[in-house]
Symmetry: D2
Subunit: 301 residues, 4 copies
């Protein structure tokens, strides 16, 4: 029996890259949080402290900022592809690169109905995400692109039930035919293409999911999630799989009876913890293999 | 010399009250975080543990939810006035009540250009705030209403300088005639009236401040803050004072020279800490006294 | 009527200064979060954007790091005094300086019962705080030192009651003679001296407060807070006033009756929100005036 | 091609279970954050909204609190085993159960050198974790136990270098032979046994890792992590694998030269972001298969 190094990865997390385009008086802004991670034969760094094949995480930070200028940021997916390919193609010991990006949206300030040229407020709603993985050299190189969003807080005040569930000796919950359903959605979608109109697809996928959440009469959060994923797959043949994670942000009907008040679905307590957590994958039965696409930079441990 | 009880206050913080109006198929939602605090002669609770004049904080929580139904929530200012007056008028030992409220805005989901009746996403931008103080009984009762916002993240990519400052032996900062200026604004405005069209005033005050941030060519964040406050006072004679707190969220121009790249105001690092912090009061020279208006529930310690 | 600048302050918040002493093989560490703020006649910066009297916040940052070397950090109170006096004495336009510091404690790693020379783990418990204010020049200069702590999470599983309280129509709470009492304490104490053995006093004040929390049979959190403050004042004539803020971190007895289980004070749900919040000042009746001592850097708005 | 449900899981996250033992005057406390997740044939809930096999997440919450009384909490590993086995053995549709637990340590208050019977302060240092997975019925049932810790902030002020690394055109970092090395460690260790003296093993594993961090002269954080994992495996044949995740919490030597000050490793800026992130697995070459052991409740998306 020997003790050996298993899976490992290293990189620079959370470089806060802000890119302004000021070619005209109407500036553009993209505001990113960039993490990069490399895999390859770095065993000697672990076992004997030999750094000779290790590109410092500081160099990865420098590259993230430099590429914002050299390559520009037309979309986080494209920028991530540029960075990932760079590491695999240009830095010899790197066999695989993983780029994870969050993008914070800004909206132009409106003044008297006119958009301002160079002032924005942070939109504040969901955070757009992308995870790009490039593996291998030359003609066997493979690429995975996962788009996504997180922190999309969405709520419906009716059109949601929860009944007919299994009961056991610890079940005290009462069924309901009309409840508030709310979540802070995380969704990710895996592309089978690497050339897309990324910004357009993003906006469209988001609106497809929102429509399903709103219009499906929900018998359970599970059903809503599956319908959201299915609708995205039906709309985009370039998407092979959708993964969704949805905390059930409980809104408990407040008991006003002690005060002689009725409460027909009007006053709720929005609770913090605990919360239900539903996670699901919706996929095609012929989806190509996905493994590294879902291996998050921070997911090893 | 004796050891005595000084200023004190107690209450229930952060009740998460959500109110749905469902009188028609088009529901309405208001989503609040409510804190209430009472002052009065509660010394015996501190000195000898006598609770006979202490209304439990649990009762304050119940009241916050009950009033969401009994009085409704037409605005956070009005709801706060209802709660504050209730404590001072109806609970004998209470001499002063302070209500602090945060409101999270939701926007209706749009589906094919049509607003949905009962589904929203959390808007996510700034948080609206209100602080209401009512003191005293009968004809000498006084009332202070402070409206506000926080977490309004705003950025301009040009139109801001910082130069001509005082230098000392610890000064290494270089002057600049064109920088990114960004902040996460907290602003509060003190009314001299208690009957206003609160929602309209809120939207208007916010847009006045945003306009000044955008359009004033700024020689310093200080100047921008003063201009924002001044513009609000000029627009509303019912507002006596505006207070602003603005972290200078530094966007440092990234040094790309080592890589042979120019960086004419295009690539920035958005830094976390430390940050400048500018706070200012803009007021009228004949403003009525304000003291308890600014005494935050959590500000005693 | 004119619109004027009212109270204002500016500075650099949250410089994360870490100071290692390595004079011998046994190193020492102090780990601080330093905020500095200045007051003076800076009106022109606000009203016309004139920076000629404004020492940049960047210079304040540089000074915080430089003083960690020049003056050293024997205690946060002493380091804060050095910084505050520097601004008032050496930077002409400054009339008043406020320094607020948090200190994170580290404890030496123990290996086979021996303390390690240069490795620590962060202690993690409470954060020590200090706030120093220096105002005025020459013989009329005044100085206020406030020591403190925050985030001291403390719990007792018995020896606490809450009964005999006032009831109103919104009261559903039942009295209890034995409950869990827990808080995350913030405490601050105002000195009337500026020369103390600061580290010793800090440790002693903390242990006095902890003893009172533990040993006083509590009829209410209010009573416990007053007793804690009183005990500190009785021990230190150099302390004129203690302020305490204590969220009542509710531990609700969990209802296990539906499952045929008794629960005699054994299983609790630790709730997040809402929470009671009790704040109190304990003072001497002959305490000298305090005003700027309590004016937090961030407390203007 | 059909659209199908892929991997899925559901459960109740973050039940804050506090258990007091009060059999004698000397009480004991365990303070947990419990998440439970179930897998099985729940496809109908997703595809057609049929809940007939779905045990509500509310029932899972009730069970977590009830088991704190019924089974007690001798360690988080044992309590997690009890919960996981219950779901797989007693709830028919459940094929696999995953229990993830965080434990917050409390230490007894010392008064005049004596431990108090029923008062504690939260220790505040690292959080202890456990993840238990039970899969399958009867004689083919399999069980995986992973112990761990997170948020262990550890720093050494010397005995760490970083040099001899690969350079590329984006490398500006200078090698160093003496730096501050600090991290906020996450570590998890997979057991091959299900009967251990869990609390003793936990304390021992932690101290083994701390010793290696302190005493190994480090050529890179990678080397330190590997040495920590290796030492644990050498000490415990019942542990098959250790995974470590370590943000490199950069402490940058502050440039004091502009002020005429030397800074020989004494004054540092503790930076927030970006940070290096090193993750590694240390394992035995004959370790049994691990798959579900590492599938975190929240790791699907």
């Amino acid at each position: 029996m020997a003790i050996i190094l298993g899976a490992n990865t290293y990189g620079k997390a959370e470089s806060r890259v802000v890119r302004i385009r000021r070619d005209t008086e109407r500036h553009e802004i993209r505001d990113l949080n960039v993490s990069t991670a490399l895999r390859g034969d770095f065993a000697a760094a672990y076992t004997v402290g030999d750094q000779s094949t290790v590109l410092p995480t500081d160099s990865q930070k420098q590259t993230a900022y430099a590429y914002a200028k050299e390559k520009g940021i037309t979309s986080i997916e494209q920028y991530g592809l540029d960075l990932a390919r760079h590491y695999v193609d240009d830095v010899q010991p790197v066999q695989s690169a993983r780029i994870e990006i969050e993008e914070y949206a800004w909206e132009r300030v409106m003044i008297n109905g006119v958009e301002h040229d160079h002032t924005w407020t942070r939109k504040g709603q969901e955070v757009r995400t992308a995870a790009i993985t490039v593996e291998g050299a030359g003609s066997t190189q493979q690429t995975w692109v996962v788009g996504g969003l997180k922190d999309l807080i969405i709520l419906k005040s009716t059109g949601s039930a929860f009944a007919g569930f299994l009961t056991d000796p610890y079940t005290v919950l009462q069924p309901t035919s009309d409840r508030v359903m709310a979540t802070s959605l995380v969704a990710k979608w895996r592309f089978t293409e690497t050339e897309m109109d990324w910004d357009t697809v993003y906006a469209d996928v988001k609106s497809i999911m929102v429509e399903r959440f709103a219009n499906l009469h929900s018998l359970a959060l599970q059903q809503t999630l599956f319908a959201m994923g299915k609708a995205v797959l039906e709309a985009y043949r370039e998407i092979a799989e959708v993964r969704l994670s949805a905390p059930n942000k409980h809104h408990f009907l407040y008991d006003l009876a002690p005060f002689g008040l009725e409460n027909p679905g009007e006053v709720f307590h929005a609770d913090d913890r605990p919360y239900g957590l539903i996670q699901a994958t919706v996929t095609r039965d012929d989806a190509p293999p996905a493994d590294p696409a879902w291996d998050s930079f921070t997911g090893l441990v």
